[in-house]
Assembly symmetry: C2
Homo-oligomer: 340 residues x 2
């Protein structure tokens, strides 16, 4: 009938069952040292009152919230969405909740959000933190249990990351094999560690391939950044463009189509990540697949270990898989044969 406006507390249950608070607490926590008869009496009272322990009160006394915080640079980015999803599902299996915070690519907010969300949770997962190395290390030292996703440059916390260097190398090789000798690289945030990893890989590629030129073009991390880069790519007279990620690649692709630049006829374009829709673009996008949901799940495994006081698994470096689709082809002026 009329449900009471306020929830039952442990005191209500204790009174209803005619026992002390401690007994109720023991029963609710399945402490075996309670007489069976008493226990079932308490359980009946609890059920009757619809009682469940207040998680806030438990958090305060137990010092744990059963919740972890996840900070991402941009919730609109499919890769972060996927990481979040993988993490959230994995954590929920273990009865943990997830607090999300979107730093919106704002450096200052990132640190603040991390600290603030961490205080209401048991641990912190930082996705692709944009913070400088030193600041990141400071932050990690301050916040306690933390795991870092897609950022290699720290030893202060477990790391799970895609191997951006290896992925980019595969992409370059793919283009070189198709005759490209002048390739544009649309760089992402300077702050992004994965961008540096890619830069290093490009340097190695230049050394490995005689006569290969790779010109770096500052772009950004989103669709608009890619679209805005078409002019620079054309000016660079590159026959192919490697984008920081699929979003940037899609922007470039879109601008190319709009300006009548044939893809891959005049310009080959490749992205990075293999976001869900990369296969539906026109032409479908060549990219390097990052198993983002798996990264999220792996991040949770490590977090769980940390929370349990166990040794987390070794850092994970997942090698992206080259996904060759139709947005890349032979360099202009070449026949369609590829040399290994």
């Amino acid at each position: 009938m009329g449900a009471s406006r306020t929830r039952a507390t442990i005191t209500d249950v204790a009174r209803a069952a005619g026992v002390s608070l401690s007994t109720v607490s023991r029963v609710m926590n399945d402490n075996p040292s309670v007489d069976a008869a008493l226990a079932s009496r308490v359980r009946a009272a609890a059920a009757e009152l619809g009682y469940t322990a207040n998680p806030l009160a438990r958090s305060l006394v137990l010092g744990r919230t059963q919740t972890i915080a996840v900070v991402v640079p941009d919730l609109a980015n499919p890769t972060f969405q996927e990481i979040l999803r993988g993490l959230s599902r994995a954590a929920s299996v273990d009865g943990y909740h997830v607090l999300v915070a979107d730093s919106n690519e704002q450096l200052d907010d990132e640190r603040l959000l991390a600290v603030e969300t961490r205080r209401r949770t048991d641990g912190l997962v930082l996705c692709a933190p944009r913070l400088a190395d030193d600041d990141l290390d400071d932050l990690l030292a301050e916040v306690g249990p933390a795991v870092v996703v897609n950022r290699a440059a720290t030893t202060a916390a477990p790391v799970v990351a895609a191997d951006y260097g290896a992925g980019l190398t595969a992409l370059v090789d793919h283009l070189v094999a198709r005759g490209h000798r002048r390739i544009a690289y649309l760089a992402g945030t300077r702050r992004s560690a994965s961008n540096s990893a890619r830069l290093d890989a490009l340097a190695r590629s230049r050394a490995a391939h005689d006569g290969l030129e790779i010109v770096e073009i500052p772009a950004g991390v989103d669709f608009d950044a890619g679209a805005a880069s078409l002019g620079a790519v054309r000016d660079a007279r590159a026959t192919a463009a490697l984008a920081f990620n699929d979003l940037v690649a899609l922007g470039l692709l879109s601008a190319a189509v709009e300006h009548g630049v044939a893809v891959p006829g005049e310009l080959s374009i490749a992205g990075f990540d293999d976001i869900p829709f990369a296969r539906f673009t026109s032409p479908p996008l060549t990219t390097a697949r990052v198993a983002a949901a798996d990264l999220g799940a792996a991040a949770w495994q490590r977090m769980r270990a940390l929370l349990a006081g166990e040794q987390p698994a070794a850092d994970l470096v997942s090698t992206p898989e080259l996904i060759a689709r139709a947005s890349t082809g032979p360099a202009p002026g070449l026949t369609a044969t590829a040399s290994a």
Copy 2:
């Protein structure tokens, strides 16, 4: 130098500043009734110790957590991601945090997650709940401050929703104008309220257009569901298909291309939502645009009002905008002219 392992408490600050707990509390909460000199002494001590009030303890005593919970049926769905993003950004502007839970389209989990996350937060936002009407009403009554997104069938909480009926009507009109007289509708979850809204709209459309046949095909809510429906669509001899959402439409489109069915030559396909990548498919997808991030922000406005004890704004019914792209065209056998 050596940062202490455990955080400073209000007691530490009080001792350091040589005042009582209450004074520290007052200062930290900007209570003006504190002597200026004392206040700055306290502030200095707090700064020195790096003190910030423990949010858990505050939550317990204040009865509010400064956090809201959001339950979505599927974090992989771009529309829910977008709603989450809009909500999260809006809430963070007001200093609120967001706890996400993905029910994974599981009915039982939905209810459980809602109740459980609600207890650690101040309010609950339910996205497109799959629960039956009665169960939903029960749930809403139980959990207190709540707002519902994309589900019209309740008066127990503020609602913000896209007008699926209007959007679908626009889509049908669009197809009818292009000569289609036999249209397949790929239905979503029966549990989805927006599906019923669409069914009603279709019934009205049938009545409005003489000789128009709309055949309903049970499909689902994701890409695979759409891909699996191609056979049924062909069997129905429909010249056009209206999908429950863009994901389903993309699945169908993909299967069509794969099986050599010309789109829109032999089959016109339209989706719903206008997810970010709908414009990049090949051909680009005709759809009805739902301003999902705006829905999320609007949901937060209402939640904020509820939390402040104010009257929330009236329910929002946002009319989707018809986005005509190349995946729809004249019915086979017709010239490319359209009649208004």
